[in-house]
């Protein structure tokens, strides 16, 4: 870039003379020395729609991610009587209802694991995922006042919503420990995979969440579609039933839903079952594809956020 050479040539005459006239008229203390970089720090120009996510920029704003996550966690349970307990109540009561209706009355199998623990281990990732994509999907529209007033990498907003969901996940995880002790389930080396599947869930939620949030800016339909999508998605995920509930020849179909490999992954890592590596790998692959597409789509739509939100 030849910005330094063009500095003296491209300047319009009007501004130049104006500045000179001014400096000769007004007596001011000498300005301090400025060591300006040779290259501009920021170049503002239209249509950089094909660029990738600016990781450098994201890194510079990493504290904002922390504070937005912290704000979401802090504010969520303000002025509630039960406070953080809500993070536990939600999956716990759902688990109890599921146990009565599906475990007892309908007799849904649970891979020889006591149904309550089985269901809870499925609800853990599901509740996280469902809340994360709902909150994330609505996050940009909810932050319109920020978007129209300040610059920062927009991606941080939907990402922070996922981060806040992770905190809830950690709290609801605490209930699982007494449950597992009660049913006499001991951890095995498979538990080492647990952080990996949690990470995978977060990545998938991020991909889906950021895409939906950007789409929501343009099409407010997303707000109405979201609860509906979440509900349907749960039924095609092995939350209530195990993946083995389906006949072998249909299981690949179920595995196309990335949440299948993930939810089964939670159970395998917690209960020491054999992993379905194929399904898990497929989940990881689909997650990656979703992330790549979502970040491209987000970046493309991001340019207009402030104008159309």
């Amino acid at each position: 870039m030849d910005t330094t050479t063009s500095a003296t040539q491209d300047t319009p005459d009007s501004t130049r003379t104006a500045a000179q006239v001014n400096s000769s008229q007004v007596v001011r203390p000498a300005l301090p020395e400025h060591n300006l970089p040779d290259e501009p720090l920021v170049i503002i120009k239209p249509g950089k729609s094909w660029g990738a996510v600016d990781f450098h920029d994201l890194w510079a704003f990493r504290d904002l991610f922390y504070f937005l996550t912290w704000r979401d966690v802090k504010v969520r349970y303000k002025q509630t009587v039960l406070g953080v307990a809500w993070a536990i109540i939600q999956p716990l009561f759902t688990m109890m209802i599921f146990t009565i209706f599906f475990g007892r009355l309908a007799g849904v199998p649970s891979d020889n694991i006591p149904y309550p623990v089985f269901a809870y281990a499925g609800l853990l990732p599901w509740t996280f995922f469902a809340n994360a994509i709902s909150n994330s999907g609505n996050s940009l529209v909810g932050s319109a006042n920020l978007i129209t007033k300040v610059y920062f990498p927009r991606l941080i907003i939907p990402a922070a919503a996922i981060g806040a969901g992770l905190v809830d996940l950690a709290i609801s995880f605490l209930v699982l420990i007494p449950l597992m002790i009660y049913y006499g389930i001991t951890l095995t080396w498979s538990a080492l995979m647990f952080p990996v599947v949690v990470f995978l869930t977060a990545l998938l939620a991020l991909g889906v969440g950021m895409w939906l949030s950007a789409l929501n800016v343009k099409y407010r339909d997303v707000r109405f579609a979201l609860p509906f999508i979440v509900q349907l998605w749960m039924f095609v995920s092995p939350v209530i039933y195990p993946a083995s509930f389906l006949p072998q020849r249909f299981r690949w179909l179920l595995a196309l839903n990335p949440m299948t490999g993930i939810i089964e992954g939670y159970r395998s890592s917690l209960f020491g079952r054999a992993f379905d590596w194929g399904a898990l790998a497929l989940s990881a692959l689909i997650t990656l594809a979703v992330l790549v597409y979502a970040s491209y789509a987000f970046h493309r739509m991001e340019r207009n956020f402030a104008d159309i939100i």
């Binding site: 501004t15 001014n22 007004v26 504070f67 340019r303």
Partner: protein
């Protein structure tokens, strides 16, 4: 010197009205896509009326350490320019290069969460404005001291008054350390003491050698803080030069003219009135040394009312109700005690009553007035809401360092005396 901000042929287009296809429901988009491709294309181009170029072909540079004012009427593109420079929105054409960190005070208090305490909001807001956590922690005490809100740090900001809220917000924002600071109308808020503080802070920022781009409608503040001013009109730079010259050109063009404004009805039959009185003209005239200059707070001026008295041997007088822009009557005045005709019946014919308004009386702002014609000092026989408005501007840099409009419907200069009555 090498510029720190270089703006080249910058343009920003907004779509207005229904061609704002960008914001709609999914269904509309699908329906649109289903239509013939050429129809879509046509819709994209839009008609001229639906497209607004908020900025066009904008070119200028800012040198490091300069405090540049940006002035212009509403809709001239000032705020859009700041939005583009602060990367909130993307330009449609052209480019801008920034050779330093940018921070903007487009609207202070952005991102404050009402449920969080003052302390928590300092951190949150700081991070939103681009500060690192350690940076906020380091400046925390300074920010609190600046805001004067030590006692309320652990109160949720939803319990703050709007003044407290602004103080906290500005305290955070003013502790940013950018090389380039973009400021939009911060002076419109806060009380006098706080405004003084804010301006002092901006002065400090400039003295430290930082660059400030300052958008304001407050000509006094612009003149005293900026050495160079850009005057934008319809998205273009109309003038770019020393603050004093550009500001006075701007005011002359916007509010100037010998007769500030007038209404004239040459045709008696069509003039407002009734069978007793009809108006002929209503005007405001600058009586200052330069009749072409805008009316300032110091300029004497007159309001003239010309009317036809249609009934002989009646006694008429004119009363004016002068309104501020908030529709408050600033004062009323009438010609009832005028020396020649006040106790004498008037013949039929054309009369002119002139109300002489001295300088150092009016407050800043746009004013309008209504004209009342009163018969026999008792009954109002005709009332005319005049279309004539006049703007009082303020050019003086005041020594008391308050740059905003003083409260009050009028701002008379009154004599004061102070005497010592005793000693301790």
């Amino acid at each position: 010197m090498k510029p720190i901000v270089r703006v080249e042929k910058l343009a920003k287009r907004y779509r207005l009205g229904k061609s704002e296809a960008a914001y709609g429901t999914l269904r509309e988009s699908i329906v649109e896509a289903m239509r013939m491709p050429f129809q879509r294309l046509r819709a994209r181009n839009g008609s001229a009326a639906e497209i607004l170029w908020a900025l066009r072909d904008l070119t200028f540079i800012v040198e490091p350490g300069e405090v540049v004012g940006v002035i212009g009427r509403n809709g001239a593109g000032k705020s859009t320019l700041l939005k583009v420079l602060s990367r909130i929105t993307e330009p449609t054409l052209g480019r801008a290069e920034l050779y330093g960190r940018v921070a903007s005070l487009l609207e202070v208090g952005t991102g404050f969460h009402p449920e969080l305490t003052g302390r928590e909001n300092i951190y949150l807001n700081g991070a939103i404005l681009g500060m690192r956590k350690t940076e906020i922690a380091r400046k925390f005490d300074e920010i609190v001291a600046f805001s004067d809100l030590e006692k309320f740090l652990d109160t949720p900001v939803k319990r703050y008054s709007s003044g407290m809220y602004m103080r906290l917000a500005f305290a955070v924002a003013s502790h940013l350390e950018p090389e380039i600071l973009l400021v939009d109308e911060v002076l419109a808020v806060g009380d006098a003491a706080f405004q003084k503080k804010c301006l002092g802070k901006m002065g400090d920022v400039a003295k430290e050698g930082r660059t400030v781009i300052f958008v304001s409608h407050n000509m006094v503040a612009v003149q005293s803080l900026c050495r160079r001013v850009l005057w934008l009109e319809q998205g273009k730079v109309l003038e770019n030069g020393p603050a004093g010259a550009v500001v006075s050109n701007y005011l002359n063009k916007s509010f100037g003219g010998g007769v500030a404004s007038e209404e004239v009805w040459p045709d008696l039959a069509g003039a407002p009135g009734n069978d007793e009185v009809r108006l002929h003209a209503v005007r405001v005239r600058n009586k200052g040394t330069d009749p072409a200059a805008p009316l300032t707070m110091k300029t004497p001026f007159s309001i003239e009312v010309e009317y036809w008295n249609l009934q002989p041997e009646t006694q008429l007088h004119v009363t004016l109700h002068v309104y501020t822009e908030h529709e408050i009557i600033a004062f009323t005045t009438g010609s009832g005690l005028e020396p020649i005709w006040s106790n004498r019946p008037q013949p039929a014919g054309l009369f002119r009553s002139i109300c002489h308004i001295p300088g150092d009386l009016m407050n800043v702002g746009r004013h309008r007035f209504s004209v009342l014609v009163v018969k026999n000092k008792s009954s109002v026989i005709y009332r005319h809401e005049s279309a004539v408005t006049f703007e009082i501007v303020d050019l003086e840099e005041r020594t008391l360092s308050w740059y905003g409009r003083e409260p009050g419907v009028v701002q008379p200069a009154l004599d004061w005396t102070t005497e010592q009555l005793g000693t301790l």
